[in-house]
């Protein structure tokens, strides 16, 4: 069996206005992966997803899904894909249960099979008691969950999520993360684009960073994160920090009398920093990463590309 869920070869897209959105990108996403496709706005993420799902016509290149070339057998290739788009796109005058069962019908799943499946999905995503309501009456978080349910009704092997938690509150995001993890554990390959880099860092096994229509990075999350040589921490202290503080080679800056920002090399140990401070009678009350590791690397990569 082919272990690649999605293979993209030399994919290019030039829009009718002349804008070149993709400059020949290549990707190979393995079955069972939880893959992050990240990039700033306008980088080419949504264009790539649009082409995979045939909402956008490619200019050149090849795409195969589980070994099926989308140009040769798009019907079969599309049965493997579920899409959660970036923007809410329901018929707002249709009841929720209809939205799900209709989507099943478009994938050839008969109503008598789709109805119990829809019930199971809506219960899992905590929407069952809303099944007869029109989608326009749902909150933003519920609408996001409904999009996930709709994308899963035909049991796709490859789920593509284009910013699925955009605008959702923390509770909805956490619920969604848990559910996506379960799905991935059960064998569904997931491609995620998101602006919440913390989300990608927590969920994804592999990552590609795209900018200006080119893939800048394509590796495992672990390999990518290991490129970070320094991490910045914010330390909150109980005691006042003296202006003439010396921290044995750590770069730092005072934010206020009780807050300090310190850069710690990935090779050194944060315990030694806390120890140095305690020797100087400064007790650390709490600490946090200034930015996520992925965010730090992402910004460096994208900034470098911009230069």
């Amino acid at each position: 069996m082919n272990s690649s869920a999605l293979v993209i070869n030399n994919l290019t897209k030039t829009y009718s206005n002349g804008h070149k959105a993709l400059h020949g990108i290549d990707l190979d996403i393995q079955h069972g992966d939880f893959f992050a496709l990240l990039g700033p706005n306008g980088a080419g993420k949504s264009t790539t997803i649009g082409i995979i799902t045939s909402l956008i016509k490619k200019t050149s290149g090849d795409i195969s899904i589980y070994g099926i070339d989308i140009d040769k057998n798009f019907v079969k290739a599309k049965t493997y894909i579920g899409l959660v788009p970036q923007e809410i796109n329901f018929n707002t005058f249709e009841p929720i249960s209809e939205i799900i069962t209709n989507q099943a019908g478009y994938y050839g799943v008969p109503r008598n099979i789709a109805t119990p499946e829809a019930e199971m999905l809506l219960k899992k995503l905590d929407l069952w008691d809303k099944k007869d309501q029109f989608s326009r009456n749902l909150s933003g978080g519920m609408q996001r969950r409904l999009m996930v349910a709709r994308a899963l009704i035909h049991k796709p092997k490859l789920l593509i999520l284009d910013e699925p938690t955009a605008g959702a509150d923390v509770e909805v995001r956490r619920l969604m993360w848990d559910y996506l993890k379960q799905l991935n554990d059960s064998g569904t390959t997931i491609i995620l684009t998101t602006h919440y880099l913390e989300e990608a860092e927590n969920l994804c096994k592999n990552i590609a960073i795209i900018d200006d229509g080119k893939i800048l990075e394509n590796s495992s999350m672990r390999t990518f994160l290991s490129k970070l040589k320094n991490e910045k921490f914010i330390l909150y202290t109980e005691d006042k920090i003296p202006r003439d503080l010396n921290l044995n080679g750590h770069h730092f800056s005072l934010i206020d009398d009780n807050t300090i920002e310190v850069s710690v090399s990935i090779d050194s140990n944060i315990n030694s920093l806390i120890h140095d401070l305690s020797i100087k009678n400064i007790k650390v009350k709490s600490l946090k990463n200034k930015t996520g590791r992925l965010e730090e690397l992402f910004m460096r990569l994208v900034d470098k590309n911009g230069k």
């Binding site: 079969k76 049965t79 329901f90 707002t92 209709n102």
Partner: protein, 259 residues
């Protein structure tokens, strides 16, 4: 192949069901207005004005205009159903539900067209029921009548589909009804026989495709016509074939749907 066929059949049934539910849910907007409009036509044109006109080809005026009025209601609603359904689904972007799924373009077209035809036929039935109080309902050839109504409905459902593909805003969906359908329908012999027109106008009237639809339906109901029935059927089939080709061509090209 078998699997593809099953997918397309299930998808087709789903689109049709969705389309029928869509206009059924808003029956007050879709099924009641044509009844009111036609009753007004029967009262004003049939009874008030018709009595002064007298008989046309042995039929009183209300009976003479009824096939044209029936056809106008059917084609208008077939057209409206597909253009509004397609355009609204583009506007709210839920057309993407169809576009990302493994549905072939011919299935999408067939689903929308069937929805439009069912609405057209539903309107036809309610108009016929309402007409019972005003006209002497006669049928010369029931099979021909059903064929003409269905083919006319299909034709205009496809016009609506094409308009929906090309429409970029709400104003665009009224272009065909305002500038093409309404003038051609009114000039197509609903209210008159073209034999009543002076020479050159008779020749010009023959260029109007809707004239053939109205005359074919009038023949199937009353047994009278201004033009050859076989030629009318040929014109109707020709336009249907041409519109199927246009619709599929533009769907395959992704016009208005895929960038």
């Amino acid at each position: 192949m078998e699997n593809n066929r099953n997918i397309q059949i299930t998808a087709y049934k789903t689109i049709v069901r969705k389309e029928v539910l869509r206009f059924s849910r808003i029956w007050k907007q879709t099924l009641i207005p044509p009844i009111i409009t036609n009753i007004l036509y029967f009262i004003i044109f049939g009874n008030l004005i018709g009595e002064r006109i007298g008989q046309i080809e042995a039929y009183n005026y209300t009976d003479f205009i009824f096939p044209g009025l029936l056809l106008m209601s059917v084609i208008t609603h077939s057209y409206t159903n597909t253009v509004s359904s397609l355009y609204i689904s583009k506007y709210h972007r839920y057309i993407e539900e169809l576009l990302v799924s493994p549905i072939q373009n011919y299935t999408i077209l067939a689903g929308f067209i069937t929805g439009g035809v069912i609405r057209g036929l539903s309107v036809g039935i309610v108009v016929i029921l309402a007409a019972q109080f005003f006209v002497t309902f006669t049928v010369h050839n029931i099979l021909l009548m059903l064929i003409i109504i269905t083919l006319s409905s299909t034709l205009f459902a496809m016009c609506g589909f094409l308009n929906g593909l090309f429409a970029n805003d709400w104003d665009d969906i009224n272009i065909i009804p305002t500038f093409i359908m309404t003038p051609l329908t009114y000039l197509g012999g609903i209210f008159f026989s073209i034999s009543m027109l002076p020479g050159v106008w008779q020749d010009l009237a023959l260029l109007n495709p809707i004239l053939y639809l109205i005359n074919a339906l009038r023949f199937s109901m009353l047994g009278i016509t201004d033009v050859s029935i076989m030629f009318s059927l040929f014109i109707i089939l020709l336009f249907n074939a041409a519109l199927v080709s246009f619709c599929l061509y533009f769907l395959n090209a992704g016009k208005g749907l895929r960038t």
